[in-house]
């Protein structure tokens, strides 16, 4: 299974990469939504999961989610926002745009695992 980690912070990408790798995902990183779209356009492999920051240069996370949801090719791709944006209205916006889940920074590794278990992408009780 392939997971994309889309975040403009290299350190945060590394943390999310470790968590996703620990759960059995191959990981592809992108520094913003535009880079992620370019990667997706360059390959036939559709990632099962994308962990998406909100605030990024060039193409932010909400724009990325909206673009992915507009393309039927990615209908099986699970989108989870992982962001410092924490207002009620922002979570509603992200879900309305097509994000499946939403994790607010700061988070614990278990939070990512539990959300992925809710989405059926990892077994309940999986450890990182």
């Amino acid at each position: 299974m392939l997971a994309m980690v889309i975040d403009d912070s290299r350190a945060m990408r590394l943390i999310l990469r470790r968590i996703a790798s620990g759960l059995g995902f191959d990981v592809q990183e992108a520094g913003n939504g535009k880079e992620a779209m370019e990667y997706l356009d360059s390959t036939d492999q559709v990632p099962e999961l994308a962990l998406v920051d909100w605030n990024m240069p060039e193409m932010n996370g909400l724009e990325f989610v909206t673009a992915v949801r507009a393309d039927a090719k990615f209908r099986n791709m699970t989108l989870m926002m992982v962001t410092t944006e924490s207002e009620h209205s922002q979570i509603v916006r992200a879900l309305a745009a097509g994000a499946h889940e939403y994790v607010i920074k700061p988070f614990t590794p278990e939070a990512i695992t539990e959300k992925l278990a809710l989405l059926g992408l990892v077994q309940d009780g999986a450890n990182v």
Binding site: H88, I104, K105, T108, P109, E110, K115
Partner: protein
């Protein structure tokens, strides 16, 4: 990406002093994973910079945030998921039908509610699954007065909200309050809190259809477990449901309960007066 030893030691000492929790060097990765977001939230580039900030500024709030980030306990929303799936899919339809026929509410007891995630998770399942017109009464209790007060306050940190609560339910049932989230009025309705010691005679609580008593029995010896389950049994309706922790069982403690035929979760039913033949009991 290893944290400098002096920085790790500083953090480990601070956490040990404030929480008695010991972080071994093997937890270096955990410390970084949990503290980098805290550092970034404060505009710092990494964990070493956060440690530097902690050393130079006597900021109790920052210290508390760091300790909390590293000591968040195992309580989570919909813990283990399966008990709540079983509750919504199988248990509630049956219990609700019986309650409606008798013109009474469905009654549920969350007997070790800790900081409240369990009773509020149950309340969400009830709100999402009970047929219109069926009422419920949810009783939550804990041995600790502090836990009862926290659960009743229904105010949760961001770290706590991230643990297992689907975002769609977060926005439906909770309100933002500063850096925290507060349980909304829908979940507070028909929910009461009490301080109850399960190892002592119980107060008058009425009769329940379902009792959650999860991750409590593991702390007791067999005689105490037997006493607790005996007291709980007396409050359950015949055929009533008992949800234990994933690693807990009534086997070897009492024969009054029969394990439900859902292998994924520790759910039991109180035997009716005439014990069912083997294999016939469980989820029906």
């Amino acid at each position: 990406m290893t944290l400098p030893t002096a920085d790790f030691t500083y953090i480990a000492d601070m956490v040990r002093k404030e929480s008695a929790i010991v972080l071994t060097p093997a937890k270096d990765y955990l410390v970084q994973a949990r503290l980098l977001p805290v550092a970034q939230q404060h505009g710092l580039s990494g964990v070493p910079q956060l440690v530097s900030e902690l050393r130079t500024r006597n900021d109790p709030q920052l210290r508390q945030q760091v300790v909390e980030a590293l000591t968040t306990n195992e309580t989570s929303w919909f813990r283990d998921n399966d008990p709540y799936r079983l509750l919504g899919s199988t248990v509630l339809p049956e219990v609700a039908a019986a309650a409606r026929a008798a013109n009474r509410p469905v009654r549920i007891w969350s007997a070790a509610c800790s900081t409240g995630q369990e009773p509020y998770s149950i309340a969400i399942v009830l709100r999402e699954n009970l047929p219109p017109g069926v009422r419920y009464e949810l009783v939550a209790s804990d041995l600790s007065a502090e836990m009862v007060a926290r659960a009743q306050a229904g105010r949760f940190s961001q770290l706590e909200m991230n643990r297992g609560l689907p975002a769609s339910l977060l926005v439906r049932y909770f309100d933002r309050e500063g850096a925290h989230w507060r349980v909304g009025p829908d979940l507070r309705r028909d929910l009461s809190f009490n301080r109850i010691n399960l190892a002592a005679p119980l107060p008058a609580l009425g009769t329940f259809d379902i009792v959650f008593i999860r991750n409590v029995l593991i702390y007791f010896d067999v005689d105490t477990k037997r006493g607790v389950l005996d007291r709980v049994r007396r409050l359950l309706r015949p055929g009533g449901w008992l949800f234990l922790g994933a690693a807990e069982t009534t086997m070897g403690v009492t024969s009054e309960f029969v394990r439900a035929q859902d292998a994924k979760t520790s759910a039991y039913r109180l035997r009716v007066a005439d014990p069912a033949p083997a294999g016939a009991a469980g989820v029906r």
